[in-house]
């Protein structure tokens, strides 16, 4: 039997959700903290930040957007967006001059993946903060 189609939920006003989502981008878990979900905020902050620092200590590479063939562009632009989504962690790293060249090696490779994944996990946290503001979650 087919499931009844769910009604599309209305988008909350920009002014309501932009604060928690923007703070969530800048500081991992910041959106949840603003919404008084302190326990979850601490866990998100620790997970994303520790993952990012592990990536740095493994001397992972930060992606830069590059032109070229489609695959190169997708990998580098996607990686750059992933890095950028770590918020203040990424910005501080770049401002403090971290510039690790891309090197062959198992640990460097893991480091690069850790840096990108930290940003991707932060996107999930931002979406969660949005859903809480929108009333779709508690």
């Amino acid at each position: 039997m087919a499931k009844p189609k769910q009604a599309k939920q209305p988008m909350p006003p920009l002014g309501v959700w932009i604060g928690p989502v923007a703070l969530g981008w800048l500081i991992p878990g910041g959106g949840h903290f603003l919404l008084k979900r302190t326990g979850r905020a601490i866990l998100l902050f620790l997970s994303v930040t520790l993952m990012f620092f592990c990536g740095l200590m493994m001397r992972g590479t930060m992606f830069q957007p590059q032109d070229g063939d489609l695959l190169t562009m997708v990998i580098n632009c996607g990686g750059f967006i992933g890095n950028l989504c770590s918020g203040i962690l990424y910005l501080m790293t770049v401002w403090l001059g971290y510039n690790q060249p891309d090197m062959a090696g198992l640990v460097h490779d893991y480091g690069t993946k850790f840096l990108v994944t930290a940003g991707l996990l932060n996107i999930l946290a931002m979406v969660d903060a949005f859903e809480i503001v929108a009333g779709r979650k508690n």
Partner: protein, 60 residues
């Protein structure tokens, strides 16, 4: 400071951090979050060990 981890240690840390976040953002109650986080972590570990053995036998 430099961190030198083995394949298993790096994958274990990856699984740990990822499953914590997945647990938090996916479910609605704390109990469900803990259960789902543990489930995701278990899946990571099974895949990690399973693929490790597969590659071991694949190489002969």
């Amino acid at each position: 400071m430099h961190m030198n981890l083995s394949d298993f240690e790096a994958s274990f840390l990856f699984a740990l951090f990822t499953s914590v976040v997945m647990g938090i953002v996916t479910k609605r109650t704390d109990r469900e979050r803990v259960r789902y986080g543990l489930y995701v972590f278990g899946c990571f570990m099974v895949a990690l060990i399973g693929l490790g053995w597969l590659m071991h036998f694949g190489h002969g």
